[in-house]
């Protein structure tokens, strides 16, 4: 059984998607149990897979029994083993937390929503697990199409934002496809490892250079890397909370994974960092991304939109870290994929809970929430601390590696940007805490205040949220183990 984990990882959610779709027409109450079971199996398989990788090294799975490069192969190493666990667990936690709000927001379309949801998870898992450059494109499109659908089911502006995302996403995916085409035309292969094997003699070729740049631009578009980020804030803001709390943590992070996979496996760091003198340009772009993301977030008076700009800044962290071209930076970027997925999940679940109870997420709607929803806000504080980068929450540790990498690369601009963004995050979040904590102001100095009744979100929403908050701290405390046992092996030894 264990050697079939890679296949199970994708097939189980895929088949369950069809089952849910059919169940929607037969008996709607079956949908939720099916999706939870399927995602639990996925989490189990992904953890099993990661353990197998830790024990025995890289796992290669031949789909259809055809060995690569003839057939498509799954290729699981420490890098995607880790990301798989993150994707699977985020999806599971989110679906449990989102059940109530899904039922509240679309009482009659819950089944198709769950179907799209799990199809998206399938797509993301497939992107992460695959070892075939073209297969990645197909799954990219599944994740994207479901994403358009999920994001469009929001408030009034959601459709327009989602359509804009569709345009940008399609350009991004097409660029990636074109880059793969360029690789194909010079190597004749589509398997990542095979391409990596065939490429070294071709490093001087203009086509390889072009393939690399085009792929990168495509992936950047998809991950909303500055200045290609314009679609993201609106698309994520106007979506329903169940959709945005799945998409916001995962999509950009998975795309960062794709970028790292391209750099590390397909093109190899020697080519990406040595042959081309692009590093510096990209890191400076990342610096601008971080600074702009932070500043644009400051300008927002709307919690959810503010968080989306933080995502833009966080993407800058990861891209910049990966492009520093050293081990510490890359470690930071990979670690930040994990951490950022978790902390974004945390804050977006909080938004979900707030929307469920307060029906709004503008700053004015947040007054007095510390008293009203103490558990939700407690988790929010943990998530915010993580985004700010306060130990022992996990956000600090990836930031540490990123700063270390920047110091080792001598890139002080990036260090400054990271510190700046931390400081701005303090302002951003404490501005919200202040509103939740102080307002509405009472005239008589808070004494003899008639305590507002507690009005917490349902248990089903709060418990997963608290679990995420605890995970944020645990991941922080176990950073040493994650880095030493997993990420260390995910980065090729050539990268110092």
């Amino acid at each position: 059984m264990s050697q079939q984990y890679p296949a199970i990882l994708v097939i189980v959610p895929l088949l369950s998607a069809f089952a849910i779709s059919i169940a929607g027409w037969v008996n709607k109450r079956l949908c939720f149990p099916i999706i939870v079971t399927a995602l639990s199996v996925v989490v189990y398989a992904s953890i099993g897979l990661l353990l197998t990788v830790l024990e025995k090294g890289v796992v290669i799975y031949h789909l259809g029994g055809w060995p690569p490069p003839v057939g498509i192969a799954y290729y699981v190493d420490h890098l995607n083993g880790l990301v798989l666990v993150v994707v699977a667990s985020v999806a599971l936690l989110n679906v449990i937390a989102a059940k109530k709000s899904i039922e509240q927001e679309f009482p009659d379309k819950a089944a198709p929503f769950y179907t799209l949801y799990i199809l998206m998870v399938t797509g993301l898992l497939g992107i992460v697990v695959t070892g075939d450059a073209f297969n990645l494109y197909v799954l990219l499109e599944i994740a994207a199409l479901t994403g358009y659908g999920l994001l469009a089911m929001g408030e009034e502006r959601a459709q327009l934002s989602s359509l804009n995302y569709l345009y940008m996403g399609t350009i991004g995916a097409c660029f990636y496809l074109l880059g793969v085409g360029y690789l194909y035309i010079v190597t004749g292969s589509l398997n990542m490892m095979d391409i990596a094997r065939l490429l070294p003699p071709l490093y001087q070729s203009k086509a390889v250079l072009a393939a690399f740049i085009i792929c990168m631009v495509g992936v950047w578009l998809k991950m909303a890397f500055f200045p290609l980020h314009s679609w993201l804030p609106n698309a994520y803001t106007h979506a329903t909370s169940a959709a945005s709390s799945l998409i916001a943590p995962l999509v950009t992070k998975v795309m960062v994974y794709v970028m790292i996979r391209l750099i590390l496996t397909i093109f190899t760091p020697e080519f990406a960092f040595a042959t081309m003198a692009l590093n510096n340009v990209v890191v400076w772009l990342a610096v601008i991304a971080i600074v702009m993301g932070a500043i644009l977030a400051l300008a927002e008076r709307n919690l959810k939109k503010m968080l989306t700009f933080i995502i833009v800044a966080e993407v800058g962290y990861m891209v910049g870290g990966a492009w520093l071209g050293n081990r510490a930076g890359m470690t930071g970027a990979i670690l930040h994929i994990v951490n950022d997925a978790l902390m974004t999940l945390c804050v977006f679940l909080v938004v979900g809970n707030i929307v469920y109870k307060v029906k709004g997420y503008a700053f004015e709607d947040l007054q007095g929430l510390f008293r009203k929803m103490p558990f939700t806000m407690g988790a929010f504080v943990v998530g915010a601390m993580s985004i700010i980068g306060v130990p022992p929450t996990c956000g600090f540790f990836s930031k540490w590696y990123l700063i270390l990498g920047a110091l080792q690369a001598g890139h002080y601009g990036f260090v400054a940007a990271l510190i700046f963004s931390s400081l701005v995050s303090v302002v951003l979040f404490f501005r919200i805490f202040e509103i939740c904590y102080y307002e509405p102001f009472s005239d008589h100095h808070g004494h003899d205040h008639p305590p507002e009744p507690m009005d917490e979100a349902p248990l089903l929403m709060v418990v997963p949220l608290l679990i995420v908050a605890v995970i944020l701290i645990l991941v922080g405390l176990y950073t040493g183990d994650i880095v030493n046992h997993i990420i260390k092996f995910a980065i090729p030894e050539g990268l110092v």
């Binding site: 073209f134 659908g149 327009l160 359509l163 345009y167 350009i171 194909y184």
Partner: protein
């Protein structure tokens, strides 16, 4: 100069695809009408399909279906006689993806139209701003 022209002619498929792709890209960026953007998007995707399919072409080869039919299992097959089937397969996928994206995009447009009664982006944005 004498070398340039044969090079240009020998690779004309690439020039065509690049031209088409840029037309599509321009339409997506510059056009104001949402459906025109979708048209641009389709041109863009089709250009890539054209590129891929043109990779598969081989001089003097025929379509990748065994001329011998079912019974020809044991005859020697010369790879040079057939076009490269891989790009075709890949593009079948890309076409399907293109169709799917088109469907979703049109559905979105329909929703937008029913809400704003227009498909011109600036008019929609003006309406949003007014609120």
């Amino acid at each position: 100069m004498s070398e340039l022209i044969p090079t240009i002619i020998a690779k004309y498929n690439y020039w065509i695809y690049i031209t088409l792709m840029m037309i599509g890209l321009y339409a997506m960026i510059a056009k104001n009408n949402l459906v025109k953007k979708i048209v641009g998007m389709n041109i863009f995707q089709t250009a890539i399909i054209l590129y891929y399919v043109s990779i598969g072409v081989k001089k003097g080869a025929t379509i990748p279906i065994s001329t011998g039919g079912h019974g020809a299992a044991h005859e020697a097959v010369h790879a040079a006689d057939y076009l490269n089937p891989l790009p075709h397969v890949l593009m079948l996928t890309a076409i399907v993806v293109g169709v799917a994206t088109l469907g979703v995009a049109l559905a979105l447009c329909l929703r937008i139209y029913s809400r704003y009664n227009t498909l011109e982006e600036d008019e929609i944005l003006a309406q949003i701003r007014k609120k």
